[in-house]
C-alpha cells in the first residue's frame, strides 16, 4: 500500500508498487490529463509535479511517491476561474495544436519558472526538453516569456484574455 496526495486529496494504491505513477494516475485514479508518450522519460508528455518538482511519471514507480504530494495538470489551477499563469499564457498565445503534449509542457514550464523566474531563450533551450510533435515550439517560447511576466506582476493578470 502506497499512500500519497494527488491534487491535495489523500489517496492510496495497493497494487504492484513498481507500477509507474503514470499508469496509476491514468488507469487507477482516472486522471487522464497526464499523457503517455514514450514510457522512457524522453518526451515529457507525462510530466507531473512531486513535491513541487517536475518528474516524468512514466519512469517513476508509484513507490517513489510514498507520502509525497503530487500535482497533475488537473490540479494546477486554483479554480476554474483562476487558471495558473502558465495556463493563461498558453491561452493567450493559443499554443496547442493537437494538444496532446501540452499538459507536460505546462507542468515543465511551471517548474522552470520556479527555478528561473525570468528565463532567457538560452535557459528555455537548456531546460525545456519536452517533445511537441506538432511543432508548437514557437508559441511555447513566447508563452513561457509571457508566463514569466504574469507570474511576477499580479496586476497584469486581469488583462489577460483567457478565451
Amino acid at each position: 500500500m502506497v499512500s500519497f496526495r494527488v491534487n491535495s486529496e489523500a489517496v492510496s494504491f495497493d497494487g504492484d508498487d513498481s507500477t509507474p505513477l503514470l499508469w496509476v494516475l491514468r488507469d487507477h485514479f482516472k486522471l487522464t490529463g497526464t499523457k503517455f508518450g514514450c514510457g522512457i522519460g524522453e518526451c515529457g508528455a507525462c510530466t507531473i509535479h512531486i513535491d513541487g518538482r517536475a518528474r516524468r511519471s512514466c519512469i517513476t514507480p508509484v513507490a517513489a511517491a510514498r507520502n509525497s504530494s503530487i500535482t497533475t495538470i488537473e490540479g494546477l489551477a486554483a479554480s476554474d476561474n483562476d487558471l495558473h499563469p502558465v495556463q493563461k499564457a498558453w491561452l493567450e498565445f493559443d499554443v496547442p495544436q493537437c494538444g496532446y503534449c501540452q499538459a507536460g509542457q505546462i507542468m515543465s514550464t511551471v517548474d522552470l519558472l520556479q527555478r528561473i523566474p525570468t528565463p532567457s531563450d538560452a535557459d528555455i533551450d537548456a531546460n525545456m526538453t519536452n517533445v511537441c510533435r506538432c511543432g508548437t515550439y514557437v508559441r511555447i517560447r513566447k508563452a513561457i516569456h509571457r508566463a514569466a511576466e504574469l507570474s511576477k506582476s499580479p496586476a497584469e493578470k486581469g488583462d489577460v484574455n483567457v478565451g
Binding site: G15, D16, T19, P20, W23, R26, D27, H28, T32, G33, T34, K35, F36, G37, C38, G39, I40, E42, C43, A45, T72, I73, E74, L76, A77, D80, L83, Q87, W90, L91, D94, V95, P96, Q97, C98, G99, Y100, C101, Q102, A103, I106, D121, I124, D125, A126, M128, N130, V131, C132, R133, C134, G135, T136, Y137, V138, R139, I140, R141, V162, G163
Partner: protein
C-alpha cells in the same frame, strides 16, 4: 418535420462522395435536414438540421463532423456555420458528432457529409457545405419570424442571434423561433451566402475552441477512453517484417497479477493488403501496466518469414543497381533525348531520402466492444469511415451495426488514415467478448508503421549556353507507397512517388520522369504531404546545385523558372491548375524579409526554397551558422504561405510554424532503418524528434492572402523547409547535403 431521410433534398450536393472505396451513384449529402444524433430527446425541437442546436438561453451548439488532429478543423468549420447563421462566436460551443453512415440500396453513403481528414482537404472539402448549413438555418429562422409577423421574409434580416424586421421595428431571438423554424423544413433553394467582405468571424483571429480544455487536462483523446467493464490489451507483434509466431509460451505471462487472457493474432499473408500490420500475441489484462508486464513475460518463437534478409544496406544498393538500368518512363515531354544531347552543359546529382516514422505523440489505441450483433468503436482516427470498414472486416458485422465515435486526435500526420489498430482492437474484443482498450507503446508505434517511402533520386538537367534549363529528368528508385494496396496494378506504383505535374513540368519543355520500384518488405503509407516532402527536397536542392554549377544566383534562377502568374494544367491532387507565379511572389517575399542580398560572415548563409503542395503555396528562407566543429545553429526562419483566402488565420499560422518545424526536425535527425528484417529504431532515444532548442526565437510565419478561394494548410508548410535548410548549409559551408537525415554529416 420527420427525421426520414427521404425528406432530404439533394440539391446541396455538388460532388460525388466516395464511400466504401467506390463512388456511389446518386450519393447525396444527407447532412442538412432531419434530426441530429447530437440532440437529446427533449432538445429535438431546438435543432436545425444535424449541425445546429439553439438553446433557450440563446447559446448555440454546433456539431463538428470532422476529426481534429491539431489542424484546427473543429474550430474552423463551426466558424463557417456560425458566420452564415449570424450569431456571435462567443455564444458558440462545439460538440463532436459520430460517424454518420446511411445504408442505401447501392452501398453506404454519408449522413453528415463526407467525414475524414487527409490531403489538406478538411477545410476545402467543407467550405461550401458548412456555410450552406449555417445559411439554410438562418433562412429557416427568418421564415419563421416572417410567418409570425405576417410579413414577407424579404422584409426581414438578421443581427447576430436575432431576426429583425426594420419596417415593423420588431425583433425576435433565434431561441424564441427555433421550434417554428425547425418545423418549416429546408428552404427550397440553395441559400444565398454572405459576401466575404461582410465576415465578422471567418477570416478573423479566433482561438482554438478546445484550448481551455486542453490546458486544464480535460480534453479526451482516444487513449483517455474509459468505459464500463473495460479491459486493457497490448499485442506482441512480430519484430520481423512479415514474420509470425511459430509457438509461444504464456505461462509466465499468465502469472502476472491482472493478466486475464493471452492468444494469437493473425496478420496478413506476405504481399497481401494490410488489414492489420503484423501477426502477434495479444495480452488482455485489468490494467495497461499489467498487460505490458504480461507481454514482457511472453516467450515467443518467431517464424522470421520471407523478409528476414531485408536491410537498409541492401535497399540502397538495390536502388543504385536499379538506376543503372532502364525504368518505367512515366512522363516524356518534348524531345528529351535530343534536348539533353544538344545541351551546352549538363548537371547530374543523386539524392537519398530515408524511410521515416509518423510518430504521433499519442500512441495508437482503440476502444472496441464487439457483441453478437453490434460493435462500438472509439478511436483517434483521421478516417472514421475507414475505422468502420476495419471493424466490419474484423467482426463480420454489417457496417450499420457498427457505431464509430472519434475523439480529438493526438497527432495525425497521415498515420491515422489507416485503421489497423481499430481492426486489432475489434479482433481482441470479438475473441474475448469484453469491452477492451488496445494500447500501443511507443516501441510498437516506431516499429510498426506505414512509413514514408525511401528512395534514391537521380536528377539531370541540360542547360543551354545562357544557363537556361532546356532538359530535365528525374529517375527515382523507391519503395512505393502503393505497395500492397488492394487492386493496385504494378504499372501504377510510380503515381504515389512522382506527382507527374509537379514543378518543373510545363516549365522545362523537354522533361522525362522514370521510375523503378524497390519491393523491400517494409510497410509504407502516407506521411504528411507524402511525395511532396521528398520531391521538394530533391528538386529544390537540385535547382540550387544547377545555379551554382552555372554561375547563377539560386534565388534569381527560381524566380526565372517560376516566372509570371499563369495557370498551368495540374492533374494531381490539388489541381486542376498550378500557378507558379504565386511561388515567385513568395520567393521574393521571403528573400526580402531575410535580407537575402546581404553578405553573411564566414560560416553563415541563407537558403531559400518554395513548393506547391496540394493546391497551396509556401516558401522558406532559413539562415544558419555552422561552426568549425560542424555544429549547426539555425539563426532565423522566415516562412510564408499563400493559401488563397485564410479562413482561420490563427490555425494557418500554426500549421505553417508546425510544418516548418516538422520538416526541419525530420531532415535533421530522423530515419528508420532495417537490418535482418527488423526495424532498428524503437523510441525517441534513437528516433530523436527535435526539441525547442533547435528553433530560433527569430521565427516568422507570414500569410500572404491571394484570392477568395481557400486552399488547405495542413501540409503546405513542410515541403520547402528541408531544402531551405540544406541550401543554407551549402551557402554557409559549401557542403551539399544529398542524403537525409543530415545527422552528423557536418561534423569535421
Amino acid at each position: 418535420m420527420s427525421a426520414n431521410i427521404k425528406d432530404v433534398q439533394p440539391r446541396f450536393d455538388r460532388r460525388q462522395f466516395i464511400v466504401a472505396g467506390t463512388t456511389v451513384a446518386g450519393a447525396w449529402v444527407l447532412g442538412l435536414p432531419g434530426r441530429t444524433s447530437i440532440a437529446s430527446e427533449d432538445g429535438a425541437d431546438r435543432q436545425l438540421g444535424f449541425f445546429i442546436e439553439i438553446r433557450p438561453n440563446g447559446h448555440i451548439v454546433i456539431g463538428s463532423n470532422q476529426p481534429d488532429i491539431g489542424q484546427g478543423v473543429r474550430t474552423a468549420l463551426p466558424m463557417l456555420v456560425a458566420e452564415e447563421l449570424d450569431v456571435n462566436w462567443e455564444n458558440v460551443s462545439v460538440t463532436p458528432m459520430p460517424l454518420g453512415l446511411v445504408k442505401t440500396s447501392d452501398g453506404y453513403t454519408w449522413k453528415y457529409g463526407s467525414q475524414g481528414v487527409g490531403g489538406s482537404t478538411g477545410l476545402t472539402g467543407n467550405w461550401q457545405y458548412m456555410r450552406e448549413v449555417g445559411a439554410a438555418a438562418r433562412l429557416q429562422l427568418i421564415q419563421a419570424a416572417a410567418a409570425r409577423w405576417g410579413v414577407s421574409a424579404d422584409n426581414c434580416t438578421t443581427e447576430p442571434g436575432y431576426v429583425v424586421c426594420p419596417t415593423l421595428g420588431e425583433r425576435l431571438s433565434y431561441a424564441e423561433l427555433v421550434g417554428e423554424a425547425a418545423a418549416l423544413g429546408m428552404p427550397e433553394e440553395s441559400p444565398p451566402l454572405k459576401d466575404i467582405s461582410a465576415y465578422r468571424i471567418v477570416g478573423k483571429q479566433q482561438s482554438t475552441i478546445d484550448a481551455r480544455d486542453i490546458v486544464t487536462g480535460r480534453t479526451k483523446y482516444g487513449i483517455d477512453t474509459q468505459q464500463p467493464d473495460m479491459r486493457y490489451a497490448v499485442i506482441a507483434r512480430s519484430p520481423f517484417l512479415n514474420g509470425k509466431p511459430r509457438t509461444f509460451d504464456d505461462a509466465a505471462a499468465r502469472k502476472i497479477d491482472g493478466v486475464l487472457d493471452v492468444f494469437e493474432i493473425q496478420g496478413p499473408a506476405p504481399g497481401e493488403p494490410y488489414q492489420i500490420l503484423a501477426s502477434g500475441v495479444a495480452v488482455v489484462a485489468e490494467s495497461t501496466w499489467a498487460a505490458i508486464q504480461g507481454r514482457k513475460a511472453l516467450k515467443v518463437d518467431w517464424d522470421k518469414g520471407p523478409n528476414a534478409n531485408d536491410s537498409s544496406k541492401n535497399f540502397w544498393a538495390d536502388n543504385t543497381r536499379l538506376l543503372e538500368g532502364r525504368g518505367q518512363i512515366v512522363v516524356d515531354d518534348g524531345n528529351f533525348e535530343a534536348a539533353m544531347a544538344g545541351a551546352d552543359k549538363t548537371v547530374t546529382r543523386r539524392y537519398e531520402v530515408p524511410f521515416v516514422n509518423h510518430a504521433p505523440l499519442e500512441p495508437q489505441n482503440c476502444y472496441a466492444f464487439v457483441e453478437k450483433d453490434r460493435c462500438h468503436i472509439i478511436a483517434p482516427t483521421q478516417t472514421p469511415s475507414g475505422a468502420s470498414r476495419s471493424a466490419a472486416w474484423a467482426t463480420g458485422l454489417e457496417r450499420d451495426r457498427i457505431r464509430v465515435d472519434f475523439t480529438r486526435v493526438g497527432g495525425g500526420f497521415g498515420r491515422r488514415l489507416t485503421n489497423d489498430y481499430v481492426a486489432e482492437a475489434a479482433l481482441i474484443s470479438k475473441k474475448t467478448g469484453w469491452p477492451i482498450k488496445l494500447q500501443w507503446t511507443r516501441e510498437d508505434d516506431v516499429k510498426n508503421d506505414f512509413y514514408r517511402p525511401a528512395g534514391t533520386h537521380e536528377l539531370r538537367a541540360g542547360l543551354d549556353a545562357d544557363g537556361r534549363i532546356i532538359a530535365w529528368t528525374q529517375r527515382l528508385a523507391s519503395a512505393s507507397k502503393y505497395f500492397r494496396r488492394p487492386n493496385m496494378p504494378a504499372e501504377n506504383l510510380w503515381q504515389a512517388e512522382l506527382y507527374a505535374d509537379d514543378f518543373p513540368r510545363r516549365i522545362v519543355e523537354n522533361l522525362r520522369l522514370e521510375y523503378f520500384h524497390n519491393a523491400i518488405g517494409i510497410p509504407r503509407g502516407s506521411w504528411r504531404a507524402p511525395a511532396h516532402t521528398v520531391n521538394a527536397f530533391v528538386i529544390q536542392s537540385f535547382i540550387d546545385e544547377i545555379a551554382y554549377e552555372s554561375g547563377q544566383d539560386p534565388v534569381q534562377l527560381r524566380i526565372d523558372l517560376f516566372g509570371e502568374e499563369r495557370q498551368l494544367e495540374y492533374s494531381n491532387h490539388g489541381g486542376p491548375t498550378f500557378n507558379p507565379g504565386r511561388l515567385t511572389r513568395l520567393t521574393k517575399f521571403v528573400a526580402e524579409r531575410i535580407d537575402y542580398p546581404r553578405k553573411r560572415p564566414q560560416g553563415s548563409g541563407v537558403g531559400i526554397a518554395a513548393h506547391f503542395t496540394f493546391g497551396g503555396y509556401a516558401a522558406h528562407a532559413i539562415e544558419v551558422t555552422v561552426n568549425n566543429k560542424g555544429n549547426l545553429s539555425i539563426d532565423r526562419i522566415v516562412a510564408a504561405i499563400d493559401c488563397g483566402y485564410a479562413v482561420h488565420p490563427n490555425a494557418v499560422e500554426a500549421q505553417l510554424q508546425g510544418g516548418t518545424i516538422d520538416g526541419i526536425s525530420t531532415a535533421l535527425g530522423l530515419e528508420i532503418t532495417v537490418k535482418n528484417g527488423q526495424i532498428q529504431q524503437g523510441n525517441f532515444d534513437d528516433y530523436p524528434l527535435a526539441r525547442i532548442a533547435t528553433y530560433p526565437s527569430r521565427f516568422e510565419a507570414h500569410i500572404l492572402p491571394y484570392d477568395e478561394n481557400p486552399t488547405g494548410v495542413g501540409e503546405m508548410g513542410i515541403p520547402s523547409a528541408a531544402p531551405a535548410l540544406t541550401n543554407a548549409i551549402f551557402a554557409a559551408t559549401g557542403k551539399r547535403i544529398r542524403r537525409l537525415p543530415i545527422k552528423d554529416q557536418l561534423e569535421t
